[in-house]
């Protein structure tokens, strides 16, 4: 391992004394350890400090010199923001001068005569070490591009404000650049850096007018911890205006999330929520500002609780699979054809939770795979149970989520599951949403080809609810098209909607696949769809999703109908 001592940079020492003998004697003491340069008066010293400012480790400065004395040099160096980090040790024999020089910013003194070499070496070495340490800390404290605090220092200072100044009420503001990677790609990284610097400058200008601290906490994400502002819309516009002034050709949009001060909320959490608020307006063309509120907080707490409780829900079978029937309406009377498995969460404390409350959440964090797996197992077990009980196979459709596509074991797991329950491939139909197709088209097509080659049937779910393309339909290998309920909802009252349904049915005919119309609730809707050639119907008209024991009554009724028709 390389240790930091090995990475010590070469150390350059400037000795300033008007007397050559003094310079030489001091140089002789230090030359085995340092690179030495010399100046014989204050003016010459200042020129050399300027010239070597990036390399200079320390200045050893005589105080009484012609042309410009050492005090003047100290004052000039300390007054220059680019030079003032260079440490100075004064060379003197006078107590008063020592004191004055130290008060002006010299860090130590060496007395003449230079007869205590070890002391001189120790002092020079210690001051260089302290100064390099301070410079490292200073460099780490600030982001070099924007000169705002770096992330760690920012949160350290924010925590100090929170803990030691509880009466200072500070809001958390997160500022982000919309599609910053595209700004970089389109205009070059140099321009991207200019945008970041501009925001940094404007944030610092803002903080010169109000109390607060700020950081560039990540690539294009800024955090500002400031006293509450009356108008955050105006603040966002101020930052936006600074960015707009950079270029008339580049379109750069900022978005802002604000989490107002709350007692006892640590800055890290305050900023997490401001960031969540900021993310909510990602890609929103109308609104670029979001203030975190109580409703968001409640939702966040609930989401976190659901995520935490999921494993236990699976273990304790709190997740319940319901079944909604699909009927073939081209028969008379309509015949029970298959079912769709739909998940419900019967939470011991929160009661029955709608899938709309937890499915998008689980999809978002990748845990949906756990639920999918659970449903597949339950559905397969249920199909087998019904087979044994009623002697018929009721195929059940289950969801295949986006995240499942990336599971290399998926195909084998499904095959093993069917084997375990003695089912054939057509018993378990796989529903894939239109958006899953569009998100990972290549991977999805490959997977579906494999599954279909095995004998699985693939249903495209929610067709028409997303950004469908006819081209996509021609590329995707599917066996059933499920028309989204949005198409069906208004067909009784809107001729245009009904025409669209007819178009979808035409497309399905062209593809030679049957259509399932979802969300059918009335006789009239059913009649219209049936007349238009739709084969399968799912919806409240026939039945809401049912728990297995209730669904069994539908099977029994179906068997009864069959017996009657045979008789």
């Amino acid at each position: 391992m390389i240790i930091s001592k090995q990475l010590k940079k070469p150390q350059l020492v400037l000795i300033v004394d008007d007397q050559e003998i003094n310079r030489d004697v001091l140089g002789m003491i230090l030359e085995d350890y340092y690179e030495i340069i010399y100046a014989s008066n204050g003016r010459e010293a200042l020129a050399m400090i300027e010239q070597y400012k990036d390399r200079l480790s320390i200045v050893l400065l005589d105080l009484i010199m012609p042309e410009m004395d050492g005090f003047e040099v100290i004052a000039r160096v300390r007054g220059d923001e680019f030079l003032n980090s260079i440490p100075i040790i004064v060379l003197t024999a006078e107590r008063n001068a020592e004191l004055r020089a130290l008060q002006m910013g010299a860090l130590d003194f060496i007395t003449k005569p230079f007869d205590m070499h070890e002391v001189i070496l120790a002092r020079v070495s210690r001051i260089i070490e302290l100064s390099e340490g301070r410079q490292l800390i200073s460099a780490a404290e600030h982001d070099q591009l924007t000169m705002l605090y770096s992330r760690n220092f920012f949160f350290e200072y924010a925590n100090r404000i929170h803990h030691y100044h509880p009466d200072w009420h500070m809001d958390a503001v997160v500022l982000n650049i919309e599609q910053f990677h595209s700004v970089n790609a389109l205009n070059g990284r140099e321009f991207g850096d200019k945008v970041l610097r501009t925001i940094g400058d404007e944030v610092r200008a803002f903080l010169s007018e109000t109390e607060g601290i700020a950081s560039r906490i990540e690539a294009d994400r800024f955090a500002v911890y400031c006293t509450p502002q009356a108008d955050y819309e105006a603040l966002l516009e101020r930052f936006q205006a600074a960015v707009n002034a950079l270029s008339r050709n580049a379109s750069i949009r900022l978005r802002m999330g604000v989490n107002p001060w709350r007692e006892d909320v640590e800055p890290v959490l305050l900023f997490d929520r401001a960031r969540a608020a900021c993310n909510l307006v990602r890609g929103d063309f109308k609104s670029h500002l979001m203030i975190y509120d109580e409703e968001m907080q409640e939702r966040e707490i609930l989401n976190q609780r659901l995520l935490n409780d999921l494993r236990r829900a699976v273990e304790e079978k709190q997740l319940v699979v319901y079944y909604q029937p699909k009927y073939n309406v081209q028969c008379d009377p309509p015949r029970l054809s298959s079912a769709e498995a739909l998940i419900r969460w019967n939470h011991p404390e929160l009661g029955m939770i709608s899938p709309a409350s937890f499915i998008p959440l689980l999809e978002g964090n990748g845990q949906i795979g756990v639920v999918d797996n659970y449903v597949w197992n339950e559905a397969a077990r249920q199909i087998a149970e019904w087979q044994e009980k009623f002697g018929v196979t009721i195929p059940v459709s289950v969801n295949l989520s986006r995240v499942d596509v990336f599971d290399p074991q998926l195909e084998q797991r499904l095959v093993d599951l069917l084997k375990e329950h003695g089912l054939d491939y057509r018993s378990l139909k796989l529903e894939v949403t239109e958006s899953a197709y569009t998100d990972n088209a290549g991977q999805m097509i490959e997977l579906i080809n494999h599954l279909r080659a095995r004998g699985f049937e693939i249903e495209m779910d929610d067709f028409g609810s997303g950004y469908s393309s006819l081209n996509m339909l021609s590329c995707m290998p599917i066996d059933v098209l499920k028309m989204d309920m949005a198409f069906v909802r208004n067909i009784e009252h809107s001729e245009k909607d009904f025409r669209l349904v007819e178009v979808v049915l035409d497309i399905a005919r062209y593809l030679k696949v049957p259509v399932v119309a979802e969300g059918v609730e009335t006789q009239r809707q059913l009649d219209m769809l049936k007349d238009a050639g739709c084969e399968l119907i799912q919806g409240y008209f026939f039945s809401r999703p049912l728990p297995p024991e209730e669904f069994e009554r539908l099977i029994q009724a179906e068997l009864e109908t069959e017996r009657k028709s045979e008789a």
Partner: protein, 123 residues
Amino acid sequence: MTIRELYDIIDGNYDQAVRVMKSEKLIDKYVRKLKNSHLDDMMEEAYGTMDAARLFESAHAMKGVCSNLGLDALARAADEITEEFRPGNPRRLSDEEALIKLRATVERYRAAVAGIEQYEAGC
């Protein structure tokens, strides 16, 4: 003449010179530089006009150099003049008294330089 003998002649402190420069070779090197320092001329020029600031500077320079070379007596003499003319210090001597001290210091310095020249000639 050895360097130690030189120090005896010019009323220097050889042991102090060794403490600063660690080796006889370096003492030899730096003591030879004294004659080119012209600190005596600086002081003489300053007392020609009795310019207090320049007197302070020249005495201060002489004090620093001589203390590093172990020329203690000269360093002490220069120190007295430094304090006499340090800005802000009350003057203790009249100009005439100060002049006597200044001339004596310059004389002593020149005697040291002459000794060094003798030493160089003998090497």
